[in-house]
Symmetry: C2
Subunit: 229 residues, 2 copies
């Protein structure tokens, strides 16, 4: 089994156009050392893949968080498609192993350079989109990206307290107050319970490992209740 067969088996797709797959993993430094062969580097695929990733992640967030305001979704998306996150996705599928690099770049440690790995993740998405279509991209992200969203990896970027304020501030003279009710559990695994009141009426409750987390949960809870009424 050659390296490209191995890669395809690992990602779970068989490419119709193997050149597309190879191009996705071809750094410009490799092209520069193989000028005679007329190989293309991955930069154009990266341009396309960036946009494909953006739309698939946006659609997922849109469906998964029906109560999240546009500004909060934008923040969460930015955390998902930023370089460190893309690097962690690329590492999950061991992409650094398949990159075609020039010798100089290889010696300089380019293979594990974060920017390079993030780019390769995007160019792979671009190639997958061209060769297999958007549905297969979604299927790939269901394995590599969406589980991390589901696990709450990016929710620390979401500020539900701010969002609740934005929702209710449209009415004048509204007072939002948070109260920590209780501290539960033993010292090594404390849990806090918070409630949020709007104009001194309880509208949501939440628990968390920190006071801040509990308040965020209470705010999220209040937003859901407001949307449903």
């Amino acid at each position: 089994m050659n390296i490209w067969e191995e890669l395809q088996e690992s990602v779970g797709f068989t490419f119709t156009d193997l050149v597309l797959l190879k191009t996705a993993f071809t750094h410009s430094s490799y092209v520069n050392e193989h000028r005679k062969e007329k190989i293309e580097d991955n930069e154009r695929l990266e341009f396309l893949g960036d946009a494909v990733l953006e739309v698939t992640v946006s659609h997922y967030l849109f469906k998964k968080f029906p109560d999240l305001a546009e500004g909060q979704m934008t923040k969460m998306r930015a955390a998902i498609v930023c370089e460190p996150s893309l690097v962690s996705f690329a590492e999950m599928v061991n992409f650094s192993r398949y990159v075609r690099l020039g010798r100089g770049e290889e010696r300089a440690g380019g293979r594990t350079r974060p920017a390079l790995l993030a780019d390769v993740f995007e160019s792979f998405i671009g190639a997958l989109f061209l060769d297999q279509g958007l549905d297969k991209v979604v299927r790939f992200l269901e394995r590599v990206v969406f589980p991390k969203i589901d696990a709450g990896y990016f929710e620390q970027t979401v500020d539900y307290k701010t969002q609740l304020q934005e929702i209710v501030q449209k009415d004048r003279d509204v007072v939002i107050t948070y109260t920590i009710l209780d501290e539960k559990g033993p010292a090594h695994s404390k849990a806090f319970e918070a409630i949020v009141a709007i104009n001194h009426e309880k509208r949501g409750a939440g628990t968390g490992k920190t006071k801040k987390q509990a308040e965020q949960k209470a705010a999220q809870n209040a937003i859901q209740a407001l949307r449903q009424n």
Copy 2:
């Protein structure tokens, strides 16, 4: 025929979920004046539509300009999805007529405000994507956006001379020279002819209404020739 039937006829799609279509045209100022009705504004759809527009335009540029480098495609895409362009697209399909505005915003002239129209174009794309899928979005853009790309509206953003330089500068000691050969035609419709030489060897030619245009065409021509050899 009510206004929503008229709109659907005008864009050429029948929505399964009419609420989605209405939401796309609902400004937050309208929601604020109809709090009792629990209507949603178009901001979340705008978030999604922005990403959908980005990927469909990126894919179109990727296919249409196989010789264009990533940086040049990025510039052209930015010119296509910028506010003034989106406003012109929204005006082509008369979107301002369908916007649901609050009374204050209406009095303040919000209906024809560029930022509002650009947002509505994006939120409509988001609604169309959710209701009818990506292929139908492409079909819509084939009527409203892609013909303007084909007509060269956005090509002034592309700098082929810079791109040619980037391609050849990877080899050291390369000299690129442009020469205007000829000035043809009568004074009111002059045409210039330019050639570009790499290391004093002619590699491309182009004509244009200005010297600058002729040089750009010559550079574009040389890039194509380089890619093909």
